[in-house]
């Protein structure tokens, strides 16, 4: 048994270490485009934000959604359509994508929270598939072609986003704001209630919390942040296609979160980095990505369910989850 003082000293040391890591991370993010290909980094940031948004639901509320592609890809469509066909500015397009994803999340969540556990997963999967069929048939998504050639435009009518560094720092800012929002949600009283639902739903009910409302709120927030990531991706890559609304995409974000560490703050971002890097490597090697993805899934579930960051936390004593 360690005495109270030692524990407190250890905790404050841990906190200092965490802040040091955050500072290093932000500095690295700002310096990265001078060393690495910016498009690749922006892709990673979009998927990392997507995975962190997904983790808000799986890691901190204990709800496994198998339909998050609907929010990611749906927001990309909304944003691309507004910017290209209505001539909106990029920030307005991204905002529309985020709000659209939130509304979609409200509808899907309303149905899905009526069941728990694996049923919840199956319902979200089915509803997302329904949205996929909608996207196949709706005229504004332009079917198999998708919305191509979306202009990046000028941020607030001032900053030219066709300049590589301008778009990079815009995406980095969105990424950091998104992560900060997730961090605030998780560490707020609201986030604590979400965790209590994850740990023991019945007890949370008996303590007087209307669990259904909290679950729905978490679902909508997660959907909105996933939408933020998807809409940003549409601006970066200048297109929105059916790929982003398929169930394979929903599976991919689960993989990123599982690989990095479910319920850890930065785990999903680490997982996203690894998965995107792996996909880029495999794309040139000819080895099918699907098989690699499936194998990593099986290995993660069988051998290290805590994920990479989770395993590191478990090894280092004194670091709180």
């Amino acid at each position: 048994m360690t005495d109270l003082g030692a524990t407190a000293r250890q905790a404050s040391a841990t906190a200092r270490l965490e802040w040091l890591l955050v500072g290093l991370g932000v500095a690295g993010l700002l310096a990265a485009p001078f060393f690495l290909y910016p498009i690749f980094l922006m892709k990673i940031m979009c998927f990392a934000l997507f995975a962190c948004a997904f983790n808000l639901l799986l890691g901190y509320t204990g709800l496994l959604s198998f339909g998050h592609a609907a929010f990611f890809g749906g927001a990309a469509y909304f944003c691309a359509h507004a910017v290209k066909d209505w001539g909106w500015t990029p920030e307005a397009g991204i905002l529309l994508g985020t709000v659209g994803a939130a509304l979609l999340g409200l509808v899907m969540g309303f149905f899905a929270i009526r069941r728990q556990g694996i049923y919840f997963a199956m319902i979200t999967l089915a509803l997302a598939q329904m949205f996929f069929f909608f996207c196949v048939q709706a005229p504004f998504t332009r079917g198999e072609d998708g919305i191509q050639g979306v202009p990046r435009g000028h941020l607030f009518g001032l900053v030219d986003l066709s300049q590589p560094l301008n778009i990079y720092y815009t995406v980095a800012a969105i990424f950091l704001i998104g992560l900060f929002a997730i961090w605030r949600i998780v560490n707020s009283p609201f986030g604590m209630i979400l965790r209590s639902i994850r740990e023991n739903e019945n007890r949370a009910v008996s303590l007087g919390y209307s669990v259904a409302n909290y679950k729905l709120a978490a679902f909508v927030m997660s959907a909105a942040l996933a939408g933020l990531a998807g809409a940003t991706k549409a601006i970066v890559f200048q297109f929105a296609t059916l790929t982003d609304v398929t169930w394979q995409m929903s599976g991919e974000v689960i993989l990123m979160t599982l690989l990095g560490g479910i319920g850890t703050m930065i785990g999903p971002a680490v997982g996203a980095t690894l998965v995107v890097t792996l996909q880029n490597t495999l794309a040139t090697s000819g080895f099918p990505v699907t098989i690699a993805t499936g194998l990593i899934f099986m290995i993660c579930v069988l051998l290290f369910r805590r994920g990479i960051v989770g395993e590191i936390y478990a090894k280092l004593p004194g670091i709180k989850k």
């Binding site: 009526r114 999967l125 089915a126 329904m130 689960i254 699907t290 098989i291 993805t293 499936g294 099986m298």
Partner: protein, 293 residues
Amino acid sequence: MIFGIPLQAFLGQLLVGLINGSFYAMLSLGLAVIFGMLKIINFAHGAQYMFGAFVGFLLLQWLNIGYWPALVLAPLVVGVVGMVVERTMLSRLYSLDPLYGLLFTFGLALVIEGVFRYCYGVSGQPYAAPDALSGGTNLGFMFLPNYRGWVVVSSLVVCLGTWLAIEKTKLGAYLRAATENPKLVQAFGVNVPVLLTLTYGLGSALAGLAGILAAPVYQVSPLMGSDLIIVVFAVVVVGGMGSILGAVITGYVLGLAEGLTKVFYPEASNIVVFVIMAIVLLVRPAGLFGKDA
């Protein structure tokens, strides 16, 4: 004429719906059997269905073994592979949250699908119906292709047979008992782990059988299972997995509903199952036959 639709076209779509319903019923039956015992949702069910169709196709290509032997061999191969997977990997996950089983079988489905996609591309391979079942019968009011009639009849027989085996035989009684209280059944000298392996094998074999039955109706393609499994999940949500008979009936009914939608409002035919699922969730969140919340 029915509601301004020619009777022929109406019955034709209804038959298509019945065929689809036969496959929904067989697949949701397999899912319900596996879920009942293992408490795992088998995401690989669609991939195993596709695997069954490919076993039939490859037996013909490589060994010139025709449809009838394949009807036995394909489920056998899929079932044995399933049992190996259960014994070596899946059995380690029983003590965990059931979500891990879902994620594991999802990965398994991706691997199976990826392998076939790598070897055979995404285009479908034709697989001819056996000579004995080619051609059709004129029923007076409609023309029924013999093979389709065979699919409906055999799926009914398989579903009823499985239900009887679980409800009326000694082995089925062990199965149901082990679902209720595995520890107690084990204490009575029944080897529960073997029972679990057999159950997963049986469920996988059912998917394989559905696959080989489907091979002459649809084309044999690596993607044939993945879109189907999502519809079957919706079927399972509607029916509730508590009851085997419920899963089967829901499968047929939703297949027919899909066929009817194709007649009256074709644009909605591929989402109608999901819409019904949403309505059922509003009215009866536990599912039509479900006991669990």
